[in-house]
Amino acid sequence: MITLEHVSKAYSAGVPALNDVNLEIEEGEFVFIVGDSGSGKSTLIKLLLKELDPTEGTIIINGKYLNKIHRRQIPKFRRNIGVVFQDFRLLKDRNVYENIAFAQKVIGEPSSRIRKRVPMMLSMVGLAPKYRSYPRQLSGGEQQRVAIARALVNEPKILLADEPTGNLDNNNAWEIMKLLEEINSKGTTVVVVTHNLEIVKVMKKRVITVKKGAIVGDSKKGDYSDED
């Protein structure tokens, strides 16, 4: 599903953000990517979204070679990847329903499908009663749920979550993780970048450790410990 072969990324002539990374993530997997600040985690996510191009190496997602995707084809490629950010990135001037519907409108989905899908997603993330609320009227956890609903409304095969619990308290963080696990159980491949090691240990999923731009650890389900 996601393959990285000898991928390097350098922003300038200095130290590379990623250095000769090789990685294979299977369809339906739940993977944590952990590492300190500046280790290259966010660069990895940006490469997977084709926000950035690698300096060297090959990235293959859903069978597509990213270096062969033309700029015009990027939107279509991204529709197969849902993305969630630490700061939610919701549209503040639109309510919950409109934020989720926005993701369908921008890809030209017909209104009938939007009317069917959005309530379904709202129920899934447990926010059906709050569909008219604006982001400022929601808690951090609720805003992240809206962001997840928006990321999944177009039924992507992969969900990338960049520090999804970074702005949340412990309870909300766990709620979000449970939601991501539930999404994964329905077949979506989930990749979560986090520095919350407590969650990582308890969840017992595959954990990839990045340090100074290189993968220094790849633990199978439940094998991860702090010392890795």
Binding site: R78, L91, D93, K105, I107, G108, S111
Partner: protein, 302 residues
């Protein structure tokens, strides 16, 4: 393109104007101010050009003939002159008509003096053509041509007037081209600045759209619709203002200042706005369109 996408872009463009009221008002006001200045200048230049044209049309070249020329020969000369492209009008004045003119203008109240010449036209050799030009700048070439015609005794021209009008015409063209260029640059600069502010406020929205999988067209379209609507509004407001003001000011000058009114022939507002309206609307919508496309371009690289 899907109908849904088109409808979405139109609706979003209109909604964006409402969502960013202050930005929309600022942009439309900037556009209005620029187009108002442009319109004002257009009106001044059009009136000036009209007045100069009128003055040009009153400048005539007079052609006298050798004595003893038959009517047929004079007619041939007239035909040769009329065929020239620079000639707007060619009027034949016979010796009798010339004498009538002299009597009316120089012997008014002294008719007994004029009567002394009865039967002996003192300007018998003054039959001539009065030639009015399309463009006073062409006077020299026309005069040169006529002087070369057989049977032409003398060509009288008002070189000083022609030169002054030509220079004035050239000055108006240069000044108007310069001012229009400056106004356009100012308009594009101010509008692209306001559009930049408007877009930078929504940079996050654009980034989210791009990450969700929106095409460049879909990201750009609502901004373009918004820019075009603001441009249209920014053109219509000064047009209405100028229409009202022009009618009132011309009416006021004609009513209150008879002297100026009789000297200056203002171009009717219908004729002015027949030309100004499409230019102003195109300018407003065009600047809105180009400004939004240009400004959003750099935000699409996500």
């Amino acid at each position: 393109m899907k109908i849904n996408t088109l409808v979405y872009s139109l609706v979003q463009g209109i909604k964006n104007i409402g969502r960013n009221k202050m930005f929309s008002i600022a942009s439309a006001a900037t556009m209005s101010a620029c187009i108002f200045m442009f319109g004002l200048f257009y009106i001044l230049v059009t009136n000036f050009t009209g007045m100069v044209k009128e003055a040009e049309e009153s400048v005539a070249v007079t052609v006298f003939f050798d004595s003893g020329l038959t009517d047929e020969q004079i007619k041939t000369i007239g035909n040769q002159i009329t065929k020239r492209a620079e000639v707007a009008n060619c009027v034949y004045v016979s010796a009798d008509e010339a004498w009538e003119y002299v009597k009316e203008n120089y012997f008014e109240g002294k008719e007994e003096l004029a009567a002394a010449f009865e039967g002996d036209n003192p300007v018998a050799n003054s039959a001539h053509y009065e030639i009015y030009l399309d463009d006073v700048e062409m006077q020299a070439s026309l005069v040169q041509y006529i002087e070369g015609l057989a049977g032409v005794r003398e060509v009288k021209k008002s070189e000083a007037v022609a030169n002054t009008l030509s220079d004035f015409n050239r000055l108006i063209s240069y000044v108007s081209a310069g001012i229009i260029l400056i106004l356009l640059c100012v308009a594009v600069f101010l509008i692209s600045n306001t559009v930049t502010v408007g877009i930078s406020v929504r940079r996050e929205e654009i980034a989210i759209m791009k990450l969700i999988g929106a095409t460049d067209f879909l990201v750009r379209a609502p901004f373009v619709v918004e820019g075009m609507i603001i441009g249209l509004v920014g053109a219509v407001i000064p047009l209405v203002l100028l229409y009202i003001l022009y009618g009132r000011i011309v009416g006021y000058i004609n009513d209150r200042f008879d002297f100026i009114g009789s000297m200056l022939n203002f171009i009717p507002e219908n004729r002015i706005f027949h030309g100004l309206t499409p230019i102003a609307v195109l300018l407003g919508v065009g600047i809105g369109l180009i400004g939004s496309i240009w400004t959003i371009r750099k935000h699409l690289k996500v």
